[in-house]
Structure formats: structure tokens, C-alpha cells
């Protein structure tokens, strides 16, 4: 295994990791800095974490962000799964190409344009801007990511499983919930996770579609950083990093374990 680890590979690996993780590492280290000055190390301290939890503005923003992310990714998962079903199942319906093109457009559309056009829409309709407009906007732009993830699972889905269920007397709606959904659930869940994280760290679209009283965490951090980086922000970011890291580790351990279990079951079956 180590055969291919030439000095070139080692260097590029080290460089890659350095670029990725040195800034993050610095940020985490300085969040424990006792000094108010971000670049001067003055000893270890938890004080910024304490003051972070007393900073109501940041706590509010975090709460808004979580609610937006949860609601929007939930709705986007449902709608995105439905779009993926329509696109893979109904081979040739009127306007299929247009529909699939339109589903994928937000993937490549600059966020500024998505944000601006949504803003124009909300203004034109006379929607009061705030929490719900951010949520709607996030549904719109995360939906297509869910659709792509679920669709890639559906193209390899064996249709005869659904036909077998129908054949045994199970109506189509029930078939979807007892056969199709359990089998594509991993893809649906990873679509949900993707939508959730996309919504969590979106700044551009949220800035365009927000109104008074609804500020998300990225917006709050961004506006405070413009006035100068405070160690409090470092602490907030470190907590976010911690949460995401723990989630990723748990998810990967869970999948590994499921895979291992399955492999050992299959070996047992092969033995007879």
C-alpha cells in the first residue's frame, strides 16, 4: 500500500491538508486566546465561549439559522425526491427536457442571480421579507441538490421490485412507502444532509431575501467581521466546526458498520 507513496505524493498530500486545515486550526487555537487582540497570544482561556453564550444577537442568529435550515431542507427533501421520481419514472412526458433543465439550473446559476431574482419575486408579490422568505429561497436552491442525489439512486433502482409489490395487491401509493422509500432512504437522507448544510452556511441568498428581524448566523458573523474579527466569532466558528466534525464522524462510522455487517452476512450466506 505504501508503494505509491513517493515524495511527490507526500508533498502534495501535505500541501493539500495544510491549505485546508491550517486556517481552521488557527481559528480554533485563537478562540481560546485570553487576549482581545486576535493575533496576539496571551494565554489559554474559555472566556470567549462564555461571552458567546451571553451574546444574544449571535444566539438569536444561530437559532434562526437552525430553524431555516431544518424547515427548508425538510421541504426541499420532499419536493426534490418527488422531482427525481418524476424525472426518472415518467420516461417521456410533455416538457420533460425543459423540466429537467429547470431543476438543474440553480446548480450552476450564480447565487447572486438566484438571490436577486427571488428578491424581485418577493417584492413583486408583496411578500413581507423575513424568516419565511429566507426559508422559501433556501427550499428553491437546495431542492435541485436533493433531486440530483436521489435521481442518481433511482436510475439504478430495480423497477421489478415495485411491480412485484403491485402484483401482490399493494396499491401504488402504499408501494412507494413500503418498498421504494425504505430502499432509497440512504440517498434521501444524504440529500437532506446536503440541503441542511447548504442552508446552514448560505450567505448570499439569505442576504438578498432577508428582511428586518431575521438575521442568520453567517450574516451576523459577516457583518461583525467587517467591524473587526472578535475572538467571540472565533469561538462561534469553532463550535460550528466541532458540530459538523462530530456529525460527519458519526455518519461515516455508521455507514462503515452497516457495510461490515452486510459483508459478514453475505459471507455467512455463501458458506450455506
Amino acid at each position: 500500500m505504501n508503494k505509491n507513496l513517493s515524495w511527490f505524493n507526500v508533498t502534495s498530500l501535505a500541501l493539500g491538508f495544510a491549505f485546508l486545515y491550517i486556517p481552521i486550526l488557527l481559528l480554533v487555537i485563537y478562540s481560546f486566546n485570553a487576549s482581545r487582540l486576535v493575533t496576539v497570544w496571551a494565554g489559554f482561556s474559555f472566556q470567549w465561549y462564555v461571552s458567546l453564550f451571553q451574546n444574544e444577537q449571535l444566539i438569536d442568529a444561530a437559532w434562526v439559522t437552525l430553524r431555516v435550515a431544518f424547515i427548508s431542507s425538510l421541504v426541499a427533501t420532499v419536493l426534490g425526491t418527488m422531482a427525481a421520481l418524476a424525472l426518472t419514472r415518467y420516461g417521456r412526458f410533455f416538457g420533460r427536457t425543459l423540466f429537467s433543465g429547470m431543476t438543474y439550473a440553480p446548480l450552476v446559476m450564480p447565487e447572486v442571480i438566484t438571490g436577486l431574482s427571488l428578491l424581485l419575486l418577493f417584492v413583486a408579490v408583496g411578500f413581507e421579507r423575513g424568516f419565511w422568505t429566507i426559508t422559501l429561497a433556501h427550499i428553491t436552491f437546495t431542492l435541485c441538490f436533493v433531486a440530483v442525489v436521489v435521481q442518481s439512486r433511482l436510475v439504478t433502482f430495480d423497477r421489478s421490485l415495485e411491480e412485484a409489490a403491485l402484483d401482490l395487491g399493494c396499491p401504488p401509493f402504499k408501494t412507494f412507502f413500503t418498498i421504494t422509500l425504505p430502499l432509497i432512504l440512504p440517498a434521501v437522507l444524504s440529500g437532506f444532509m446536503l440541503a441542511f448544510t447548504l442552508s446552514l452556511d448560505d450567505l448570499v441568498i439569505a442576504s438578498f431575501t432577508t428582511g428586518p428581524g431575521a438575521t442568520t448566523l453567517p450574516m451576523r458573523i459577516y457583518s461583525q467581521v467587517r467591524l473587526g474579527v472578535t475572538p467571540e466569532i472565533n469561538a462561534a466558528c469553532s463550535i460550528l466546526i466541532g458540530v459538523v466534525t462530530v456529525a460527519v464522524i458519526i455518519a461515516s462510522i455508521a455507514t462503515k458498520r452497516a457495510e461490515k455487517l452486510r459483508a459478514s452476512e453475505e459471507r455467512a450466506a455463501a458458506r450455506g
Binding site: E163, A164, A165, L166, D167, I179, E265, E266, A268, A269
Partner: protein, 379 residues
């Protein structure tokens, strides 16, 4: 031993007397009435009419891509016919969705639900019928016993061998006691030995349950083994529907003769045709050919003579009666298969390389080295 023999004989007797298709008063359970199925420009099933009777084991036979599965799927409700009707017990099935048809299908890929155990797979159908819980458990146990998988009830499909999966699929499709069981190449994924065993098990099962089975296969031996009647299809068209023996002994077309078993084909001219006695002449032999088979033909017509290899006799010496039904040729190859040998014989005037089988009696291969002259004769 003795009981087994008796049982075979009764089955034989039942099988022989079972021929509802010869009874004009019998009403078919399944009727394909001039069914056409087109996919865009392509015609997959072309004006097919078949009647299938209750308790019949019916086989759809044809090469891959000839429309067998499509025809079956129209009965199961997964495809609607473009033209024509499909009737079940006299009722037109048009517009009836698959989940309301009393017909179950065993899929070519088995289509077992991977996230359910064997028992849950089998219980799926009865559950949809709204059967009470206790009754479902009883039915599952009964089905598991039927396919001898009692010990595997809690396994998941991916923990089973190919043969076991096939049994689960069979049990699942039988669990709701459908009127008709459709089997799409049910044994295609099994190895030869297991396939042959399972063919006989299927036959016993169909007899014991008294159900109507419709099986799709491209394997002519399988169709001949299991079926009461065979429908031979080619390119979406129905070529012949008849019991296996008729298909084998009196194929309706050259296509059927060639598709079922080994056969030698000779082009002939019809000399005379009267009372079921046909006299033919062929350029490969000076002797006239006489056959006793009721075909309609006029003198001068071109006819194709199909001779089964096992109906030919080969001898080194000229047979006593050389006046009819005999050929002379050279043996080119001898293939020894144990229970029989295959001889490749070339007839004079460069015409067809003919095949003849031989079992028993003939001296061993070593006695003559080919090519050498001999006189194969047939009657």
C-alpha cells in the same frame, strides 16, 4: 418404490386424459384475443390469440426478444394491449390495475424485497389482502414448508443462494393463492442439474395445487418437460400451439421443426398426395420417399422434409429394402455422448450434412475411421 411407481402412473393417466382444449364446450380461463402490442413503431406482439384452460400448465416458448415477456406482462397488468383484449374468466381485463388482478407473477430477477426477511417477503401478499395476523403466520409457515425453507425464515434475501431465492420467489407468488401463476424464465438463473430437478418439482406443485401455470421460457427442453401445451412464438407472432408431442412429431412450420430438438431438413418435390400418404422425390436419393402424415399438398409443390435424427437407422451394409426411404452417404464425424452417438453424414451431390443419432447395438467408434462409405437408411 412401489408407491412411487403407482403415483407416476396416476399422474401419467391424469396427464393423458387432461385435454380441455379438444373439448369445444370448455370455456378458457385466460383468453388472448387478437392481442397486439406496439412500442412506438416496433411491434412486440402481433395479433396473438391463445386460449388457456383451468389447471393447465402452459408454456410460451421462443427465442429471446420474441415478445413472450410482453405477452405475460399484459396478463399481469403491467402493459396494456395496443389492440385486442385479454380476458380472465370471461372478464375483460382492460383498465384493471395489476394490484386488482387475481394473477401473480414470479419475476425473472425474482424481485425479492431486499429489506425484508424471507418470512416478511412471503407475508407481503397475504397482508395486502387484509388477512388476519394469525392466518398470515399460518400461511407463511405453510409456504415455507412447501418450498422446504423452514430454517431460513429470518434470513434476508442476500443471505440466500440462487436456488433458495428462487424458492422464496415461488413461495411469495403462491402465498395469496392466485388463480393463475405466471413464471417468467423462473429457472433461468439456476445451473443445469438444479434446473432439471426444479422442473419436476414445479410440475408436482402445479398438480397438487390444481392451479393454472403460465411459464415463459426460451429453453425448449424445459417447455417440453413441464407443459401440457406449448405456444411457439417468433418475432411477436404465434407460430403453433399444441401439446409437446404434437410440436415435436408434427411441427407446423420449418421454424418450429428447427427450433424444437435436432432435425435434418431436406427440400423435396411432392409427387403425389392421397389419404395421408405423401410421396416425395428428392435430388439426394434415387429412392422415393413415402411418408404417412396428413398434410395438404399438390403434386409438383416444393416441400420440406424434416427427419428427426433418432428416427434414422445407420448401417454399413445396404439394407434389404432399398426401394424407398433410404439414403447413401459418407460418415464424416462421430460424436460419442455416452447414451448415444451423433453421426455426421454427407449425402451425395454435396448436399446437406445430415445428422443421425445412434444408441445401442452399433459397434464401437473404433471399428471404422471416417470418412468411410456407408449406407444410412431410415424408415
Amino acid at each position: 418404490m412401489a408407491t412411487e411407481k403407482a403415483r407416476t402412473q396416476t399422474i401419467g393417466a391424469v396427464r393423458r386424459s387432461f385435454a380441455p382444449w379438444t373439448d369445444p364446450a370448455a370455456t378458457p380461463l385466460i383468453r388472448f384475443d387478437n392481442v397486439v402490442k406496439r412500442f412506438g413503431e416496433f411491434t412486440a406482439v402481433d395479433h396473438v390469440s391463445i386460449d388457456i384452460y383451468e389447471r393447465e400448465f402452459f408454456a410460451l416458448l421462443g427465442p429471446s426478444g420474441c415478445g413472450k415477456t410482453t405477452l405475460m406482462r399484459m396478463l399481469a397488468g403491467f402493459e396494456e394491449p395496443t389492440e385486442g383484449r385479454v380476458l380472465l374468466a370471461g372478464q375483460d381485463l382492460a383498465g384493471v390495475p395489476p394490484y386488482r388482478r387475481p394473477v401473480n407473477m414470479m419475476f425473472q430477477s425474482y424481485a425479492l424485497f431486499p429489506h425484508m426477511s424471507v418470512a416478511e417477503n412471503i407475508a407481503f401478499g397475504p397482508k395486502q389482502l387484509g388477512m388476519p395476523k394469525g392466518e398470515i403466520a399460518g400461511r407463511v409457515a405453510e409456504m415455507l414448508k412447501l418450498v422446504k425453507l423452514e430454517k431460513f425464515a429470518q434470513r434476508k434475501p442476500h443471505q440466500l443462494s440462487g436456488g433458495q431465492r428462487q424458492r422464496v420467489a415461488l413461495a411469495r407468488s403462491l402465498a395469496t393463492r392466485p388463480k393463475v401463476l405466471l413464471l417468467d424464465e423462473p429457472l433461468g438463473a439456476l445451473d443445469k442439474k438444479l434446473r432439471e430437478e426444479t422442473q419436476f418439482e414445479l410440475m408436482d406443485l402445479q398438480m397438487d395445487l390444481g392451479m393454472t401455470f403460465l411459464i415463459v421460457t426460451h429453453d425448449q427442453e424445459e417447455a417440453m418437460t413441464v407443459a401440457d401445451r406449448i405456444a411457439v412464438m417468433n418475432n411477436g407472432v404465434l407460430v403453433q400451439v399444441a401439446p409437446p408431442s404434437t410440436i415435436y412429431e408434427a411441427p407446423a412450420t420449418r421454424y418450429v421443426a428447427d427450433f424444437i430438438g435436432d432435425v435434418n431438413m431436406l427440400e423435396c418435390k411432392v409427387e403425389s398426395c392421397a389419404n395421408g400418404d405423401v410421396h416425395l422425390a428428392s435430388s439426394v436419393t434415387p429412392a422415393p420417399i413415402e411418408i404417412a402424415q396428413s398434410v395438404e399438398a399438390n403434386p409438383g409443390d416444393t416441400a420440406w422434409l424434416a427427419i428427426r435424427p433418432e428416427k434414422m437407422r445407420i448401417s454399413l451394409d445396404a439394407p434389404a429394402d432399398m426401394t424407398r426411404n433410404c439414403f447413401t452417404g459418407e460418415i464424416w464425424d462421430i460424436g460419442y455422448l455416452g447414451d448415444l452417438s451423433i453421426y455426421h453424414v454427407e449425402l451425395p451431390c454435396g448436399t446437406p450434412i445430415s445428422r443421425a443419432w445412434w444408441s445401442g447395438r452399433f459397434p464401437g467408434k473404433t471399428r471404422f475411421s471416417s470418412p468411410s462409405r456407408r449406407a444410412p437408411a431410415w424408415s
